[in-house]
């Protein structure tokens, strides 16, 4: 079966959109790392954790995740379907590509 040939290089706009999707995929991984971090702070066996500061930390991470997701959401919501026909790089116009 013939496959659609995917373009190798993209225009600046499409390139940005792809990286936005990458960011959206990476965000939960970053979040997972940050919320699992407290595990390492209090080795089991030690006395009770510092609830106040742990709480401050967790809620800061939480807020940051919400803010990042909010920053990414508008770009992702207006995302075109996966097709990248329009993404073909017009070499002739000499646009910036990477």
């Amino acid at each position: 079966m013939a496959k659609r040939r995917a373009p190798l290089f993209l225009k600046r706009k499409s390139y940005r959109r792809r990286r936005l999707r990458d960011a959206a995929r990476l965000l939960p991984i970053l979040g997972g790392f940050l919320v699992l971090l407290p595990i390492l702070w209090s080795p089991s066996g030690s006395s009770g954790a510092d609830t106040a500061w742990d709480g401050i930390y967790l809620f800061s991470v939480w807020l940051a995740l919400v803010a990042l997701a909010a920053a990414l959401a508008p770009g992702l919501a207006h995302d075109a379907p996966e097709g990248d026909e329009a993404d073909l790089l017009p070499q002739a116009r000499g646009e910036d590509f990477r």
Binding site: S44, G48, A52, F59, V66, A69
Partner: protein, 895 residues
């Protein structure tokens, strides 16, 4: 506050919810949906994740285990923030396949298997029942708090009666607004809006209590912060396994909980809504959790030692004399509980009616798919299921005695529904996942969960005997419910999660790898996994069935209702270019109709009903392959056509070139013929004229001799011309016989110079040579080469117009080829003529017709071509310059 007032408030609130739902339904009914389907409403409706468990239980949880409660909200936060991974795909699939519940999604993905639908329904019902009981319990408890707290000493007469009332009211609301429409995809606007309102109420209530606790009685942020730091929460230490396990299980649950699936995918799934929810829902969760710890700490500090921390949200304001705030908190808790129960029971009822009741009914009365009023039966089944689900919850509440901690019950339910996750993820990302694998995984996970977590929860000797706890099932030590396979020392929840997830996933993967999926499974698998590929629609299952459109219409009317079915059929008929209400039952149409029906009764039932009419239960593997082959063949065919087209273009180009060449050749041939006839006629004319004169006789003998000589000369000229022509034709045909041998270049040039002496012998020519370089052995045809040299030297002798003519002959050897240059010191050949001198009969001047017919250079060119070399004109060498190039050994290409 008098208890009666509370009941009155509560009733008012419920009436308001009914009104909201009613107005929303009416608005939607007249088509003014507008903001009813906005992302904000969507996000708010997702808040049913926060049940009474959150509202009351989180504070209790925090009072017992510190910050561990946030894991329940961090899991969903990560899932929503990472919506691009899973939720986006789920929502898209849900919309495309008109999924009615999570059981329907799983059943539809694995070949519309009803068995899977039943298994998932079973898991969901078993896991949700305690959860519903939990909500009933929390409402009852909150009533009790008010009752016992009243100064009048008014005691709640009977907790069970309260629970019955609450359950009954909820059932009424759910049936009224949850089963108005049959098609789940038509959305329960009323219910969703009521939930959204309740979401606001519970958030406002919790924030208000929090604010009151922090600023009202806690003494401001700083003081509360210090108190939190100083508070001694006995169990609070981060246990890595529990921390990780709870984040994972809550993340899984937010996807798999039937009620979450209902609002997230079924009610109003849309990618744009999802984008807002991706951050707004985590923000909502964060706000809900914000004041939990302060409330818990202040509550522990101020409330008497025996107070139930689960009720701090309510009891703190009450104890501080804030009746209004307590009222608000009560409404918040009430909202949390009711919204959860309503949606959960809708979701479960949909599953039960679509996957248990309908298939049973179809099995028992197959003909009624055609005759009975399916619509009424489905709705009835759904209503009965709602009542059944709530009754189960109530029964559970009665049996468990309403004594257990809220949080523990919720977590058990989470772990139960999380068993669906491996199959769900496998189903949407892995085409190799099979139905048998899914059944194996789900059953394994369910059994392990039930054995290690659910049943032990009731305590020793309740369901499982103490002996089983101590010695394992049937005395097998490695089958102890809380130390499976000898793994001891783990937290029971983590232990159960660990083993159920591991065994579930393993069974699912291994059985999937070993079994072969059926055709419908493979079709659905491709459609689910490749849901974002627009062109991956896949083959249609009904390609070869034969369906009577009228029968289809009759059935569709029974499920969708007459108006809707007629509208659907009419639209399709118009799309097919036909009038009336009966379109052709094309495979596309039948598949579309099936999806539409699936939106009402579930994929498995819809499939079964359609197959009753279309006449074939399933599509066969051969059909699938045939369709796939056809597609492949068409693709291949078009690729071939493409290749052929390119080849044709190339051929056409070549043909055009050839045609061009032929035309030129034709012109050349005409010119050649006219030239040659001219060349032949001139001597013939003079021969004829002189021979005529001779035949008349009586001529003086000297004249006769003179004329005879002229005739002879002309005859020689003719002969030479004919010889040249013959030579040329032989050379051009390539059929010349070459006499190849080893020759030295120097004697060849000597011979050529000697022969050329006869051309214009009166001219005195200086020949410049470099003898040592000429001493070069070649393997070629010497005589032919001499012929070329003679020609070139004669030409120089003939046409060199210098006063003291000179001819320079130089020989050079370059990479296996020999260059012999003949350069004279005349004016040379004009640039425009350089291209034609090698053509036949090309003569630059007429003045010195030294007997040549203009064939000399043409012959040279042909000879050299036959010798594997060439003769070219060298421009810019002062005079006329010709270069003869030939290989050292004939037949040898240039290195």
């Amino acid at each position: 506050m008098p208890f009666n007032l509370l009941v009155l408030f509560c009733l008012c609130y419920v009436v308001m919810l009914f009104l909201v739902a009613f107005l929303a339904e009416r608005r939607a009914a007249v088509g003014r949906i507008g903001w009813l389907r906005s992302p904000v409403i969507y996000t708010l409706s997702l808040s049913i994740y926060c049940t009474a468990w959150t509202f009351y239980g989180a504070v209790g949880y925090a009072a017992r285990s510190g910050l561990e409660f946030v894991t329940i909200y961090l899991g969903p936060t990560l899932v929503f923030v990472g919506w691009w991974w899973v939720l986006r795909k789920l929502v898209k699939i849900g919309r495309q396949q008109r999924v009615t519940s999570i059981a329907d999604l799983i059943s539809s993905r694995f070949g519309k298997s009803n068995l899977l639908g039943v298994v998932v329904t079973l898991i969901a019902v078993v896991a949700a029942t305690p959860y519903i009981a939990l909500q009933l319990q929390s409402v009852t408890l909150s009533f009790a708090v008010f009752a016992s707290g009243t100064p009048e000493g008014w005691a709640l007469p009977n907790r069970d009666a309260t629970a019955v009332w609450v359950a009954g009211g909820l059932a009424l609301f759910t049936i009224l607004f949850g089963t108005r429409n049959l098609d789940a995809k038509e959305q329960h606007h009323g219910v969703v809006l009521a939930i959204a309102v309740e979401a606001v109420v519970k958030l406002v209530a919790l924030l208000a209590v929090g604010a009151f606790v922090v600023w009202g009685i806690g003494g401001g942020l700083g003081a509360v912060f210090a108190k939190i730091g100083a508070a001694s929460i006995p169990d609070w230490v981060i246990k890595p396994d529990r921390w990780f396990g709870m984040i994972a299980v809550s993340g899984a649950a937010v996807i798999c909980l039937p009620r979450m699936f209902q609002v997230m995918v079924v009610e109003d799934g849309d990618e744009r809504h999802m984008a807002l929810a991706s951050w707004a829902f985590p923000a909502y969760l964060m706000l809900m959790s914000l004041f939990i710890v302060p409330i818990a700490v202040i509550g522990l500090e101020r409330m008497p030692a025996g107070a139930n921390p689960d009720m701090f949200v309510l009891t703190l304001p009450l104890a501080e004399g804030q009746a209004g705030l307590a009222m608000l908190a009560f409404l918040g808790g009430f909202s949390s509980a009711t919204s959860m129960v309503i949606v959960e029971s809708i979701a479960l009822a949909t599953m039960v009616s679509n996957h248990v009741v309908m298939p049973l009914w179809l099995r028992l009365a197959p003909q009624s798919a055609m005759s009975g009023d399916v619509r009424r039966i489905v709705l009835l089944a759904r209503r009965l299921s709602i009542i059944g689900v709530l009754a189960l919850g109530y029964l559970y509440y009665r049996m468990s005695g309403g004594s257990v901690a809220l949080a523990a019950m919720g977590l058990i339910a989470f772990a139960g529904v999380a068993q669906v996750l491996p199959v769900l993820l496998g189903g949407i990302f892995w085409r190799g996942a099979t139905k048998s694998g899914a059944v194996a995984g789900l059953l394994t996970g369910f059994c392990v969960w039930a054995f290690t977590l659910f049943l032990p929860f009731f305590g020793p000797d309740a369901v499982l005997s103490q002996a089983v706890f101590d010695q394992g099932l049937m005395g097998a030590g490695w089958l102890r419910p809380q130390a499976l396979f000898g793994v001891t020392g783990m937290d029971p929840l983590v232990h159960s999660l660990f083993w159920s997830a591991a065994l579930n996933t393993a069974a699912f993967c291994i059985v999937s790898l070993l079994t072969f999926p059926g055709p419908v499974e493979r079709m659905q698998g491709a459609a689910f996994v490749n849901v974002f590929d627009a062109d991956a629609a896949g083959p249609q299952g009904w390609a070869r069935g034969r369906a009577e459109p009228e029968a289809l219409l009759v059935m569709a009317q029974r499920i969708l209702g007459e108006d809707q079915a007629l509208a659907l059929f009419e639209a399709e008929a118009r799309a097919q270019g036909k009038g009336g209400y009966l379109p052709d039952a094309t495979p596309d149409f039948v598949a579309g109709l099936e999806r539409r029906l699936a939106g009402s009764v579930g994929a498995a039932t819809a499939h079964a009903m359609i197959s009753q009419i279309v006449g074939r239960a399933t599509v066969s593997v051969e059909d699938l392959m045939a369709v796939a082959n056809e597609t492949a063949q068409i693709m291949e065919y078009s690729a071939q056509l493409e290749a052929q087209r390119e080849e044709l273009t190339r051929t056409a180009g070549a043909l055009r070139e050839a045609n061009e060449k032929l035309k030129q050749l034709s012109v050349q041939k005409d010119a050649f013929l006219s030239q040659i006839s001219h060349e032949l006629r001139t001597p013939m004319t003079s021969i004829r004229a002189f021979s005529e004169i001779l035949t008349e006789g009586d001529l003086p003998p000297e004249l006769v001799a003179n004329y005879g000589r002229i005739i002879h000369d002309e005859a020689i000229r003719l002969t030479r011309l004919l010889d040249d022509l013959l030579d040329l034709s032989v050379l051009e045909n390539g059929s010349v016989q070459l006499n190849i041998g080893l020759v030295n270049l120097q004697p060849l040039i000597d011979r050529a110079l000697a022969s050329a002496q006869h051309t214009r012998p009166e001219r005195d020519f200086t020949v410049l040579r470099d003898l040592p370089t000429e001493s070069l052995f070649l393997r070629t045809d010497g005589d032919r080469l001499v012929q070329v040299f003679i020609n070139l030297i004669s030409n120089a002798r003939k046409y060199c117009d210098a006063g003291t003519p000179e001819l320079k002959i130089s020989v050079r050897q370059r990479s296996g080829r020999v260059h012999v240059d003949f350069i004279d010191n005349g004016t040379g050949i004009a640039k425009q003529s350089q291209g034609i001198i090698f053509e036949k009969f090309a003569r630059l001047t007429d003045q010195s017709r030294a007997g040549g017919a203009g064939l000399g250079l043409a012959i040279c060119r042909e000879v050299m071509a036959n010798l594997g070399g060439q003769v070219t004109y060298l421009p810019g060498r002062g005079g006329a310059a010709f270069r003869v190039t030939l290989p050292l050994r004939i037949g040898q290409q240039a290195a």
